[in-house]
Every structure is written in C-alpha cells, then in structure tokens.
Amino acid sequence: MLEDIDVRRELWRNTIQLFHQYKRPGFIGPFKAAGFDEYRVEPYVLLSGTGVEKTPDIIASGKNGWLVLELSFDKKSKESTLNFYKQIDPRYLGNYNLPAHDNPPEIVMSRLEDFIPDGPYCKITVKDELKVKDEEYINNLTLRRELKNASGSDLRKLPEIPITLLPEMKSQEIRRGLIELVMQIFNPDSDGKDPVELVDAGLERLSDKINIASKRRLIKNVTDEMDVLMKKEYLSDYLTIDEETSKYKATDKAKQHHKTRMYIVSKLSEWAGIGPQTTLYDIKKHP
C-alpha cells in the first residue's frame, strides 16, 4: 500500500490527473470535463500593473476560461498568495501557447488532506478521494458543476506523473524518486550519472523552474541518499563513484543477468523502504 512517505508525489499526481481522462476503470478529471484542457506547470508571470513576479504551481486555460491552481503542504493559510494570483495579467497566457482571456482567473487551492482557511477561494483535497469545498467561489458555472460532480471520485489508482523528484522531499521520497534513475546506471553503454544529472532528470520539466537554492538542497540530499545506497548493506558491490567526475557508475560485477537484476531490484526496494517484491522468489543466490 502507498505509505505516507510518498505524500508530495501523491499531491502532485492526484492534482495533475484532474486534467486528464482514463477509460479504465473510468475517470474524467473535473478540469478536463470543464474544458480546461491545456495546462502549464510553474509558469513565470507578472501581476497586472505592479509587475510583481509570480510562479504559480499550475495555470490552465480552455475555451471557457482560465484557472490558477496552487498546491501546498504548508499548514499556514495561502490566502495572501491566492490574492496575488487573482491579479495575474491574462495576456501572459499567450506566452505559454494557452488560449487567452480578458477576465481574472478562477482560483483553486489543492492540498492533500486537510482543508485550511485559505480565504474566499475554492479548495480541494486529493488524498485517496477528491473532496471539494467552497466551490461557490468559482464563477465559471461549468467548472463549478464539474468540480461538484467529481467530488468523491476515487483517486487511488491514477497514473504516476513523469516528475519523480520535488524540492523538499524527505529522505524516503527521494530514494523512491531515484529508483529508475539508478537502474539506468546499469546500462552497459552508460558512462554514469552525477548528482546534478540525477536531480535534473528527476525534476524533469520542473528542472529549469526550481530556484537555485532549492535545487542545491535537493542535490545535497540526493548525494546523501546515494551515499547510503553505496553502503555494504545495499549496492556497494555493484555501484561505485568516480571521484574525478563525481559520477555514479556500475562496477564490473554488475552483469546483464536476471539474477543480478533481481538482486539490484531487491536492494533498491529495501533502500527505498518498499519492502520485499510481492512475487520475488528466493534471491539468496545472487551472482
């Protein structure tokens, strides 16, 4: 079962998927249903008149209007931030190839579990099921209706999103976000990956949008977690670091053999706090 350590990814995943539709088991996100088809993550915009710079988490736009969505774990109210978003100049939508509008945006605050007094704005929570509150603050009647209709939707089986690392992730979250990046290092043609490359790949499209200080902290945290992975109880026999280039590389012992792969999978699972693979057979005899 999904444990609490994946909370940041769950907030992002379950919010982003509200813009999408899946046939099985059957899910239409309310933003998709309301026609807010196109969205951009962390766009840089300015406020009307003052020119104050802002980077909201998501801006979406469709034929019938546009929307600013803020995601947060912060227990403090985001009311003042949301007040600013109301003043974003809609003409910047065109800079992101989004349909332009001349009215102010709809504002939605997304949190994982608890509703916080975030001011006169619509609020949603996305832990396991969609909960909607204060939808009367949405002026777009289609969006208001779709949010209300979608309230109670099961969000537990929605697809992952391509962003696997986020700033402020805790130790175990970082480890899970690194799993497939570490596996790539075992490609026979790979010349290794350094911590910066790991972070850039994990942040994916957010890579050039994260401020330098947050990114540096993340790189440091990734380095710390990789140090643990290279300890004796995990993958010290299979993974090493090239001191000259700071790249993590596979050792000669890492062969392209299914037993080696099973062993690496089991150790990565252990390191990332996932526990044994549900169907993994005895892996004691790893090569």
Partner: protein, 357 residues
C-alpha cells in the same frame, strides 16, 4: 545498370540508382507473375519490407544489417554491399523517425538478420503496428481483407493452465464457410491480431497481395507495379511516423499517461515476477513500488532503449508514463507484445482518445 539473364530471371548486377532498384524489384514481380501463370507458384524471393523506428539521424550512424550501406543517387536511399549478399537490402531513410528496409533475401535469412540487427543496434526498434494500423486498408477502395492471424499465448499463466489461442485464416473472394465469419469476428474482438493479408484488385485482377505483421514487417506475395507497391508500404511508414510524432507531442506537452487497455485479464503476480527479473519479450526491468490486490505500480527501465518508464497496471489495463525524452515507441511495443503474449485485444489511448490508430 548491367543485366544478365539466368534461367529466365533477369539479375541486376549493380544497383546504384533508385531507378535501378525499382527495375530490379519490377523484374522480380514480373518473374513471379509469369511463373505463377505458367507453373502455379512463384520462384523469385518475394519482396519484404521492415518498418524500423529510429532515433538516429541517418543510416550512416548505424551499421548495415549485412555489409555496408552505400548511397543511391536519391537522397536517403541506400543499398547494402556485402561479399555474400550484395544488393539484397535497401534502405529508405527519407523520414525522420521511420525507416524502411526492403529485402529480396530469402524470408528466413532476412528475418534473422533484421532481428539480430535491431537487437544489437542502439536507438532502433521495430514499428509495432496496432490493430488499427493493421486494418488500415479496411475501408479503402479496391482493398479487400483476405485473411488474418490471431494469437494469444497466455504467457503469464503456468504452461498446463494456459489458455492458448491461435488462428490463421486465409479466405478468398467468396467465403466457402459462412459460419467462419462469426468465429473470426468473435475471436478478433478477444485476441490480438498479429497479421492481416490484404489484396488490392483493379478490374477483377490482383495488383497487390500483401501480408502485414504486427512487428512492422510486410511480405509482398504478389504485385504488378513497383511504384504502387512501394507507395503502399510508404503509406504505413507515414502513418506510423505520424503516430510517433503525435505521441511525442503528448509526452512533452501534458503529464497524462498513455493508457493501454487489454481484452483479457492478466495475472498481476506473474507480470510482476517477470518484469522484476528484466526477462521476457517485453524487456522491461521494473521495481514494484506499490501493490494492491488489483493494482500495481512499477518504475524502472525499458531495456530496448534503457529509457525510464513508470507503469501502473490493473487487471485489464496499464498506464504508461515516459519521463524526460524517453522513446514513446515503448507504448505500441508493450501493447503489441503484451497483447499477443498475455492480454488479448489491445488498444492505446491518451485522454480517452485512441492513438497509434
């Protein structure tokens, strides 16, 4: 181009222009039509084409499957020069993402050479044709479906309990067994199609008879006109390239997953066991990160390209997320292989709209 005649067959000595190639292929078609009329069978090797998904800038970036590539007079066209099998493979690399290799080798030899070449060459893969691709000519004038192959190997089930199914049915202009239509209709709604035989008829005469396979290969069983034949193959290459470009755009501009819907329920435990080892035809090496009774989350590597993938799997569907610039050809590959091995009829969607179609 020099020509010699051996046993009634015109042999082209050296092919250096696109026209030489077309003449060589046309001669092969004519020889076969002639022998078909006289002896009831063909003797020249039939033309085969393999659609190749490529992430390389040009064929010169990769070795030839046999010998070395030499340019023809026309941009993007190549012929292989080789001590053993010269002038037997031809490459059309005029598209960005889909190359076509034409072969006039014997089928068994040709298939093996191409299979090994794809396996050993970085950045290339087969074009995995969806059901919609294979049925592309269904509503087109002059084209008739003349048979199909269905396959379901139930590869995740223990051998003794496997619900294997395979059917290859060829039918002529008139269906002798009318009841067969119902069986085929039911079967094709449950299982994966791995080949379809198409015939183009003009004024009652066959102008092209071709069998398309889900692995992106086509065998031209009969043909009259080389240009008409090459264009029909290029049509599929164009269609597949359009699908790849559309999927790449979706990968880059949205964070929605590719949804693969299956016609048969799959055994999640068996699936998990195979992908954890990185074995099996799908060549996925994954770590299971979340397990519910009817839903699993995996993340790991597509061993074809060593790109990262995130795969969330339910009993009759899978969500595929491809981070970064990972190759979107993983979507049709998983759909086709998983369909034929384990999952039956398979379709790919994005935001509820069918893609690779």
């Amino acid at each position: 181009m020099k020509r010699t005649r051996q046993g009634g067959e015109i042999i082209t000595n050296q092919i250096s222009t696109l026209r030489d190639l077309k003449e060589r292929l046309q001669a092969g078609f004519e020889n076969n039509e002639e022998s078909l009329e006289r002896f009831g069978k063909t003797y020249s090797n039939q033309l085969k084409a393999y659609l190749i998904e490529s992430n390389n800038s040009s064929p010169s970036a990769v070795r030839s499957p046999a010998g070395t590539w030499h340019k023809l007079d026309s941009d993007g066209w190549y012929v292989n020069l080789d001590d053993k099998r010269p002038n037997s493979l031809f490459m059309d690399s005029t598209r960005d993402r889909v190359w076509v290799i034409y072969s006039i080798m014997d089928a068994a030899e040709s298939d093996l050479i191409i299979e090994n070449w794809i396996k050993d060459t970085k950045g290339i893969d087969k074009c995995w044709l969806s059901r919609k691709h294979l049925l592309h000519w269904e509503n087109m004038e002059s084209w008739q479906e003349r048979g199909l192959g269905l396959r379901f190997s139930d590869g995740l089930a223990p051998e003794d309990d496997a619900a294997n199914f395979s059917l290859k049915a060829w039918y002529g202009a008139t269906r002798c067994l009318t009841d067969l239509d119902d069986v085929i209709k039911k079967a094709r709604e449950c299982f994966a199609i791995y080949s379809v035989r198409w015939q183009k008829r003009i004024s009652g005469s066959v102008t092209i008879s071709a069998e398309w396979y889900s692995s992106g290969k086509v065998t031209i069983n009969r043909a009259v006109d080389v240009d008409e034949t090459l264009i029909s193959i290029a049509e599929m290459a164009n269609r597949y390239e359009d699908s790849l470009k559309e999927a790449t755009k979706l990968r880059d501009t949205t964070m929605g997953a590719f949804e693969i819907d299956f016609g048969q329920k799959i055994d999640l435990n068996a699936f998990s066991e195979i992908v954890t080892k990185g074995t099996g035809d799908m060549r996925l090496w994954l770590v299971e990160t979340e397990a519910q009774e009817d839903f699993r989350r995996f993340r790991g590597i597509d061993l074809h390209t060593w790109d990262r993938i995130l795969l969330d799997v339910g009993p009759d569907f899978a969500y595929l997320t491809i981070p970064g610039k990972g190759c979107v050809n993983a979507a049709p590959r998983i759909a086709v292989i998983q369909g034929e091995d384990n999952a039956g009829k398979t379709s790919i969607f994005h935001d509820g709209v069918e893609i690779f179609a």
